[in-house]
């Protein structure tokens, strides 16, 4: 018995003492990485821009009158009756999340000897911030992205953010010149494969987008001209013909790895039609605008004939590609235009099996149209070598190139003698630029098209058939998520009325 007692006591004392704290050392996450080099984060940021541009581009395509929805789905009143609230269209959270990635890449670049990331990361930040301003106005900028150290970032004035972005882009260009891509950089850069020159050109064109957006504000011309001339003085220049900003990490035919636009609106990785292919439809107004200039070339690239793509001969419509088979849907109409009876989004974006096209963030044609508008508006005040007509025609050709409508056809259009197609025949040169830019952004840059529509009020796209009043949304609400977590700063912006609170560059 004594022995037993001793045994029990030894067991008891032994076990109590035997547990060391290091036994608890199992708290390292076995499922996720604890750190990353900036290049991987940069790659991810670029790729996420493709994913997160899908929704804003979709909404912009509707609100710029390029797309509407088919009546195979019941009408979305949120979109087409403008019945949206602060819990709809929250692009804010996603954008700031990606900003955080680029910010991490930029700020940790030096520590990891990857300084070449700094410039491109800052360019991408400017690209995103402009989009934030363009739908939300004032937003956190100078106090943003500071993590736990600044939890309630104040909102900067939208105009000052715009000015800050120009400076950011200047800085970015200096960074790139000082730290060209080396080592792993080319692989990390899924837009330009480590081409410093193209990044600088992108920065310059982005500057032009930011500057020209303000061009209708009275008294802003001197600033714009000065900044354009600073950009024009940089030897790399603006995005030239043939150079679009497209993201392609190497899309694969695997679930979640195809081009996200193809995946959303066209086909799954194995080529089965997505049911959402039945949702978006080119508007009747888009087709009417194209037909008005005999531009059936791009119409057949921007849309498939009613019934969609013939999946056994990819790239070609099921029905014969004659104009009468191209059925657009009146904007915001609730009924009578089911998906199979109307045109699908076309082969310029979607061809069965072509899941690996780049996702475009900025087109060369837009760069040309920006130059055209700058030259047309400021003439010799800006040190741009070409004429407005040259830039305009280059823009149209770039659009034909990207849509696959053929260079010869572009020349046909440019010499057609039709208003807003042929420069010389156009009565209002700015409207010609705006119209052609609107067409060139169709399917590719809906978000930009909506911003430009608000800036220029052109072309005169019809009001939604599902809305009774004359007004249209001019911006978005600050999202409920920011409202709930940064209330004082959101409320300092006043009560937002999406039909009357204009972005600062939207003068009328």
């Amino acid at each position: 018995m004594r022995l037993k007692n001793i045994a029990v006591m030894v067991l008891l004392v032994g076990t109590l003492a035997g547990c060391k704290k290091t036994w608890l050392d199992v708290n390292t996450n076995p499922n996720a990485l604890p750190s990353s080099t900036p290049d991987f984060v940069f790659t991810n940021g670029l790729t996420r821009m493709a994913f997160s541009s899908l929704n804003p581009n979709e909404l912009g395509s509707y609100y710029s009158g390029q797309w509407t929805q088919s009546s195979s789905y019941i009408l979305s009143p949120t979109i087409f009756s403008y019945l949206f609230t602060n819990s709809d269209f929250n692009y804010w959270d996603g954008w700031y999340d990606i900003l955080s990635d680029f910010n991490y890449a930029e700020q940790n670049a030096a520590a990891y000897d990857q300084e070449f990331i700094q410039g491109p990361a800052r360019i991408m930040k400017a690209y995103i911030y402009q989009q934030i301003v363009d739908v939300y106005g004032n937003a956190p900028y100078s106090e943003a992205l500071k993590g736990g150290s600044l939890l309630f970032p104040k909102f900067d004035d939208q105009k000052s953010i715009y000015e800050g972005l120009i400076k950011d882009l200047d800085t970015a260009i200096i960074y790139i010149k000082a730290n060209p891509f080396t080592g792993s950089g080319a692989a990390a850069d899924v837009a330009f494969k480590g081409n410093d020159q193209k990044w600088i050109q992108f920065a310059n064109s982005l500057k032009l987008r930011i500057l020209m957006r303000q061009s209708r504000i009275a008294g802003r011309d001197a600033y714009i001209i000065a900044e354009i001339n600073k950009a024009a003085a940089i030897t790399e220049g603006f995005l030239p013909a043939g150079v679009d900003v497209g993201v392609n990490p190497g899309w694969l035919a695997t679930a979640g790895k195809t081009n996200p636009m193809y995946d959303r609106w066209a086909y799954d990785p194995n080529g089965a039609t997505r049911s959402l292919a039945r949702f978006p439809r080119p508007t009747r107004y888009l087709f009417e605008s194209l037909i008005a200039t005999n531009d059936t070339f791009r119409m057949k690239r921007l849309a498939y004939a009613a019934g969609g793509e013939n999946t056994s001969t990819p790239g070609v419509s099921t029905r014969s590609e004659i104009v009468s088979n191209y059925i657009g849907v009146p904007f915001g109409v609730a009924s009578g235009y089911t998906a199979p009876a109307t045109s699908y989004i076309g082969p310029s974006q979607f061809v069965k099996g072509q899941f690996n096209k780049p996702y475009y963030l900025f087109q060369a044609s837009e760069s040309m149209f920006l130059l055209a508008e700058a030259k047309q508006k400021y003439g010799s005040g800006v040190n741009l070598p070409g004429t407005a007509q040259e830039y305009y025609e280059a823009g149209v050709r770039e659009s034909f190139r990207l849509t696959g409508a053929g260079l010869a056809n572009a020349n046909t259009l440019l010499t057609s003698g039709i208003n807003e197609a042929d420069w010389n025949a156009s009565t209002d040169k700015l409207k010609a630029i705006w119209m052609q830019k609107w067409i060139s952004l169709t399917n590719f840059g809906g978000f930009e098209a909506w911003a430009e529509y608000r800036r220029t009020n052109y072309p005169n796209t019809p009001q939604s058939a599902s809305f009774t009043g004359p007004e249209r949304p001019l911006r978005l609400f600050y999202p409920g998520t920011e409202q709930g977590s940064n209330r004082a700063n959101v409320e300092a912006q006043g009560t937002i009325n999406v039909f009357s609170n204009r972005i600062f560059w939207d003068i009328d």
């Binding site: 547990c19 970032p153 997505r274 209330r487």
Partner: protein
């Protein structure tokens, strides 16, 4: 030896007793039912020699043959027995104070008499659980314990449940009660709740407050259900057989309209040329033979085609009139059969029990089935000072169900569609996807067959313990418990490629065609390439308890102490493989695919250890005081560079009990025979943080890696470096009364809980770059009271009638959130979400709502279209967990016939039904029946002077479609209803064949037959057209939002037979 012992004795504040030299006599003290009476005092009459029985009633005392032992214990009549020559004495004593003195099992297996407890404990016995013969434990518990809420969030053959005690404390963490099976805690696992056979359970003690945590550690912070499984009883081996068979039927479906057939918005829209002003004309234009929505023209009995002409030229022409009962006919009658065999027996010192259960269920969703087969074995032996127990179970259950939302699909088929004829889609050309009429939604029976999930759990669990009695007052117990669960799952979707005819040529023939019709079935545009998903998860829990128990009386004082040490480890592994295509049909292997293989894995490991002590004292069996202390170490907060106070934490509890009627005998009267006051306070630590929650992580970005291209994203959560466990402080006071010779028992409790420093993933502005910060910020309050009333109304030899009522009130409040953060959402739908909001009870339901004039309450409309305007923000509609829970039940016995029933009421909360929204979308809901021109009720608009005037003239623009689908449906407040209900939870009528009759069979020793039912009656709010308010989209803290993934509510009834050989 002496040195160690005395050290230990000092530690325990006891002194060593010298041992007597006569021969040891052992025995067991039991009550008249054979249940052990723990800690009875055994005195050698005429001497000072005493001994105290252990928790299981076993005692040992030195005595000689012929000595008289006096057995005494609180609440029992003292009894004398003479020591015989055998050396073993078994004593059965009779209770003097009725039910109240039943022993309850409290934390760490300590058996105590209720009078000693300073907190509220409820006890359920096997007979309480098996009234409704539910194979699921959770369903057997509903409404039976005050403070306990069982949420049957989904029915089906694999029901999901949530069990909480005293409401919600944690905003984002777990609020579920801990399950402890035979001493082994089962945290973070709902599996055992589904697996355990209720009939194997001897009793359940429900520790409602913080007391469980003080001894069970953090996992017990939400209270605990301490389950003791049945043990064998000494005596002749008995074999019992039980069969119960029940059917399961729909108890209610939402109300459907049967006036309008299929149609959608095809009529020319307002403002377009050709717009028709007569809504009946528009309805005619809206009719289409291939529509899923039900906004066509009124049923008129004419013969009309449904769908399009098939490739072989055939047309499916049916009367355009509703088919009565079709909506119900598509659901099956479920059948559950449950067979059990148990064998138990043993000798004086060794007992065993073996039980086998086989449960087979078919649900109301066609082809859904499940089965559960389990074996449980327990054995215990006593050899001198050693006791050893072993208890193990192997249980496997398998499910075969559809992954398809059959309910939703069925709503998309109009009332004249002969849906129940479309089960055979392989041979019936109109049921085949190539010929099925509906353009947008497939034949629900096809999808039911084509989209399957087969999964199962394989569970081996058990516990072993070894006890050693060191001396008269001290024993040591070592227990190891293991739970090992494997879950396999295979989800498959069959491949289906549509015919060219279906894709491009199927047409609507004359005379039913319409302008703008097109050829080809819309849905055929998307081929189904099939898919396979294969996953496996394993969970392994190890729990070790080492306890030293002491028990000794000093004069008027009785004391008891415990020192314990606990080690816990839980390890999980999850792997999955998937492929989004099938090459050769019907072969479901991920290698039979095109494209890339998808997959992933997740592993977790957590470890804890803790030291605990408990000291309880009683004075003259009238005043009791108890204190507990625990010191925990948890891996969840551990890093080798973190200070120890961030991952280890002490906490404690204290409670007192006063038996007033013994302290002040003057209080005793014919009316009141027992009264007790009690109070307790606990401060509990809780390591309520998600696993690996201290790490900032970099995860793969969307789709990454793309071949060789790697992309990592900065994690969304920034953890505070000083994260530490949270603390929950609970205060509880209560009183117990027994009156009218114990005929009436009343137990009242009030409690307050304050949870401080909850680890929250706070939504911070995304503009900081991190959507979430994880830090200790949230404080909540949770309070309520509970009343339990039991009445023995009639007690005669022929009649026995008991009645009991259990009421609980619970409320909570978010006291503190992070500065500047007022609220966050649990999720839901964008238009109906469940929120945590500062200053309010949580969760609170917020939905899209009408814009109303605050002065008049009028719904503001657009005066041109007549349609309502939306409120800019989501509007709060109230809490989603019940405030009031009332259970009441009765047992009635007349001779050999007994009857039992339990009801439950819950209320004070609201719910949102996506089903309502879906049925407005499809136009199948009864509430959409009015399609005539109408105004928005109680509406108003701004007149030309900017004044709000009541609307008496402006109709909604399109009452036959636009009003319902584009407006009414979008105001989610239309589908918010009060969530109160009354249910007849379970009911049974049992006939026990009298012993005289049974004995004549010579085979059986007991025999009974019964009828039983569950949820036979359900009453809900008259505006709740939709479903069972208990349902919810999942069993997380997001309660109160339900949809069509919860199949319609059911009732069950059946027969059972029980035979003992």
């Amino acid at each position: 030896m002496r040195k160690i012992l005395s050290l230990l004795s000092m530690l325990m504040l006891f002194t060593v007793l010298a041992m007597a030299q006569t021969r040891p006599v052992t025995g067991k003290v039991t009550n008249d039912k054979g249940d052990p009476i723990p800690f009875a005092t055994v005195t050698l009459k005429g001497t000072k020699t005493t001994s105290v029985a252990d928790a299981n009633g076993n005692f040992s005392i030195e005595a000689k043959t012929g000595d008289v032992l006096q057995i005494s214990s609180a609440g029992v009549a003292s009894k004398d027995v003479i020591v015989g020559s055998s050396g073993s004495v078994n004593v059965s004593v009779t209770s003097t104070t009725g039910q109240m003195e039943e022993v309850v099992v409290t934390a760490q297996g300590v058996r105590r008499r209720p009078r000693e407890l300073g907190y509220s404990v409820a006890k359920l016995n096997n007979e309480d659980l098996i009234i409704g013969r539910s194979p699921q434990l959770a369903q057997s518990l509903a409404g039976k314990v005050s403070g306990l809420a069982v949420f049957n969030v989904n029915n089906s053959v694999d029901p999901a449940v949530k069990i909480t005690l005293r409401g919600f404390r944690s905003m984002t963490g777990n609020n579920d009660a801990l399950l402890v099976i035979d001493g082994v805690p089962q945290p973070g696992s709902q599996t055992m709740l589904n697996l355990i056979n209720p009939n194997d359970i001897d009793n359940i003690s429900v520790l409602k407050g913080g007391q469980a945590a003080t001894l069970y550690g953090s996992a017990g912070v939400n209270g605990a259900l301490i389950i003791t499984t049945k043990r064998g009883k000494a005596g002749r081996a008995k074999v019992s057989f039980t069969n119960s068979t029940n059917v399961e039927q729909l108890s209610f479906l939402p109300e459907f309209q049967d006036k309008y057939g299929n149609g959608s918005a095809y009529a020319v829209g307002y403002g377009q040329p050709g717009y028709k002003t007569d809504h009946l004309e528009r309805m005619k234009d809206n009719w289409r033979p291939f529509e899923n929505q039900q906004y066509g023209d009124p049923y008129d009995g004419s013969l009309r085609i449904i769908g399009r002409q098939l490739e072989d030229g055939s047309q499916n022409i049916v009367p355009y009139s509703p088919i009565k009962g079709e909506r119900k006919k598509i659901w099956n009658t479920g059948i559950t059969t449950n067979n059990q065999i148990a064998v138990d027996g043993g000798s004086e010192n060794t007992v065993f029990r073996l039980s086998v259960e086989d449960n087979r269920a078919q649900g109301i969703v066609p082809k859904d089935k499940s089965n559960r087969t389990g074996v449980r074995f327990s054995a215990g032996t006593q050899a001198g000072r050693l006791t050893a127990n072993f208890n193990a179970a192997y249980i496997q259950q398998n499910f075969d169900r559809t992954t398809h939302n059959f309910y939703f699909e069925s709503l998309n088929q109009a009332a004249h569609i002969p849906l129940s004829q479309y089960k055979d889609w392989k041979n019936n050309k109109f049921a085949n996807p190539n010929g099925y009429f509906n353009d947008y939604y497939n034949n629900p029976f096809f999808r039911l067959d084509n989209e399957r999930q087969v999964y199962g759990d394989y569970n081996l669990s058990g516990a072993m313990d070894l006890g050693f009695k060191i001396n008269e007052w001290l024993n040591v117990t070592e227990q190891i418990g293991v739970t090992n669960n494997t879950r396999n799952r295979k989800n498959t979707v069959g491949k289906f490629i549509y015919s060219d005819w279906a894709k491009n040529s199927a047409f609507v023939p004359s005379p039913w065609e319409a302008t703008n019709d097109y050829d080809g079935i819309d849905r055929a545009g998307t081929d189904n390439l099939g898919s396979v998903y294969d996953a496996m998860s394993t969970e392994n829990i190890l729990n070790n308890e080492l306890r030293l128990n002491a028990q000794k009386d000093f004069g008027d004082w009785s004391t008891r102490g415990m020192l314990g040490f606990n080690v816990f480890q839980r390890k999980t592994k999850f792997t999955e493989l998937q492929s989004a295509s099938i090459v050769v049909p019907d072969v479901y292997n991920v290698s039979n695919r095109q494209g890339e293989l998808g997959g992933g894995e997740a592993n977790t490991m957590e470890r804890k250890f803790g030291y605990y002590a408990n000291l309880a004292g009683g004075w003259k069996d009238m005043i009791f005081i108890e204190g507990s202390f625990r010191y925990d170490f948890t891996s969840r907060f551990y890093k080798n560079d973190r200070p120890a106070n961030l991952f280890s934490y002490p906490y404690y509890g204290v409670d007192v009990s006063f038996v007033l009627t013994d302290l002040f005998p003057v209080l005793k009267s014919n009316v009141l025979n027992y009264a007790k006051l009690r109070a307790g306070y606990n401060k509990n630590g809780n390591d309520n943080i998600q696993l690996y929650g201290l790490d900032r992580t970099f995860g793969n970005g969307p789709g990454f890696p793309y071949g060789g291209t790697v992309g990592l994203t900065v994690g969304d959560v920034l953890p505070d470096p000083y994260l530490k466990p949270e603390f929950v402080k609970s205060t509880e006071v209560g009183a117990e009364f027994q009156m009218f010779k114990n005929r009436l028992n009343l137990d009242v409790t009030a409690y307050w809980q304050k949870s401080e420093g909850q680890v929250l993933q706070v939504k911070v502005p995304n503009s900081t770059g991190y959507p979430f910060l994880r830090l200790n910020v949230g404080d909540t309050k949770n309070w309520g009271y509970e009343v339990d009333l039991k009445m023995a109304i009639i007690r005669t030899s022929d009649w026995n009638w008991d009645f009991s009522v259990r009421y609980s009130y619970n409320d909570n409040k978010v006291v503190k959130l992070y500065q500047g953060v007022d609220q966050f959402s649990y999720g839901g739908f964008s238009y109906a979400q469940s929120f945590v909001k500062k200053g309010q009870a949580f969760p609170v339901l917020s939905t899209t709502a009408y814009l109303r004039d605050s002065a008049t309450g009028l719904v503001l409309i657009n005066s041109a279209s007549g349609y309502p305007l939306p409120n800019a923000k989501l509007k709060d509609f109230g809490r989603t967990i019940p405030k009031h829970i009332l259970g009441w039940g009765s047992r009635l016995r007349w001779k050999d016939l007994s009857f039992a029933a339990n009801f439950e009421y819950r209320g004070g909360n609201v719910m949102f039904s996506q089903l309502g929204r879906d049925m407005t979308f499809t136009g199948s809901g009864k509430w959409t029946e009015n399609r005539d021109p109408q105004r928005v009720p109680n509406s108003g608009y701004y007149d030309a002077n900017g004044k709000i005037v009541e609307n008496t003239t402006v109709n909604v623009r399109e009452s036959e479609y636009g009003w319902w689908v584009n407006n009414y449906r979008n105001f989610a407040e239309n589908f918010v209803t009060k969530a109160w209900f009354i249910k007849l939870r379970d009911i049974s009528l049992t006939y026990n064949v009298p012993a005289r009759a049974v004995s004549k069979t010579k085979i059986f020793s007991e025999m009974s037959f019964g009828l039983f039912g569950r949820n036979l009656l359900t009453i809900v709010d008259k505006k709740n057209f939709y479903t069972d308010p208990e349902f919810s989209v999942n069993n997380t803290n997001l309660l109160g939002i339900n949809d069509t993934n919860q199949t319609p509510p059911v009732r069950q009834y059946g027969v059972n037979i029980n035979l003992v050989f």
